[in-house]
Amino acid sequence: MKKNSQWFNDFELIKTFVINAFKVKYKRSKLGMSWSMLNPILNIIVVSSVFSQVMGMPYHTFVVFYFSGFLAWTLFSSALLQGANSLIVNETLIKKVPINLIIFPLTFVAVSTVEFLLGFFVLAILLCFLGLKVSIAFLFLPVSLLLLVMFSTGVCLLASVMTAFFRDVAYILTVVVQLWFYLTPVLYPKKFLVAKSHLLATLNPMVVYIDLFREPIVNDILPSPKTIGTAVVLSTILLYFGIMVFNKYKSKIIFEL
């Protein structure tokens, strides 16, 4: 009973932190919350106008193609980069009030997920005018999202613990994430990466998660059973591992801040 209400309270707290994050983020801007939708739109317009040329794809084809990978990548990378710092930026709070530490990284995953959803719906509607076909395969996307969020949560928890012990992990991560972006088929099709280095394509877990979104959105088909299977296994392992490591170190974290 007490356990239950504790969980419920932590959930309420994450919800409040997420709402506050959005409130604060766009507070002084005239357009307010709509920035969280405008940002991905502008990004897609700009990047697509350059890279549709580079890739030699028609603009309207490339936009849809890029959109299918971009939002998934953004969710993962922003959850990872911001989550890594989540314990450090909340140092004062952690030292003054008893609070379940896992709330802080989870808040950042939640913020990234909400931004994904806002961006997705707005872009999907806009892209319908540019030739995005909404097919029955779209019904698989909630599953894709769930798997991606599980994976991102696991990675984010690990990163937050590591950053608490070694501050420069956060800086290393910004570089790693940038490199990782170019090694992930977001701007280009997967076959480019496979052709260059089969090993990289197999070792990079984000290849799998991009597929989970790209297959339904671009090709109107379900991801292959192998892709889905790999994602389920990866997400489960990382989430489990992340929670385990976090719980193991959580009582020590306060002494490191």
Binding site: L13, L93, V97, F166
Partner: protein
Amino acid sequence: MSFIHVQDVSLRFIKHLNRPNSLKESVIQYLLNFGKPSYQMQDFWVLRDVGFELQDGDRLGIIGVNGAGKSSLLKVITGIYQPTQGHVAVAGRISSLIELGAGFDPELTGRENIYLNCLISGFSKREIQKKEASIIEFSELKDFIDSPIKYYSSGMALRLGFSIATTINPEILIFDELFAAGDMCFVEKALERINDMVRNAHIFVTVSHDNAQVRSLCNKVLYLKDRRVEYFGNDVEYGIAQYIKDSAMGAMS
């Protein structure tokens, strides 16, 4: 029924001497030292074998010189620190006034901060909604309640923090020192409210350097000396006398 059981609690901080706090450095040092960790760690005991029990009706004053471990003990009781050894068992909702407004987000309005702060203290939305009006009234912030906290004077922020912390009726009330800001009128109001809370709380624990305050508020005293319990019991006068005696000895030598 509320209780606090503190059983043989020891708390250790680790002081890292020339410890690399970056991954890069630790890798380099690790390689340079052929795999042996290069930095020294010093154990630093903040509390040693501290034990006591409190039940309904107990009003405990924790006394001792600076660095004796008083504030750390409070943080162990509230659950901010996990004890390195020993156990802490607490039954009853705790309200700790260790730092007023610790969870304030300066970008948010006073009203939004009330919600945040109360949620952090473990209250449900419905409970907060019930308290909101009385918190705002007591803080005397009026219209300012809807502007961001970063525009508040320190006195205003303090009043809000105090109102939030004291509008709730905790079963266990924990205080670290008492506060000195806010205008005189508010202090009087605040004192009255503190006395009310102390009367209503099942258990009250405070850290204080003000012996007169301990005498008037507490029926038990815990004298921490050099991280250990020197005296714990009902004889408040005896505990304070010990403390004063030791302090005088310390001053002489």
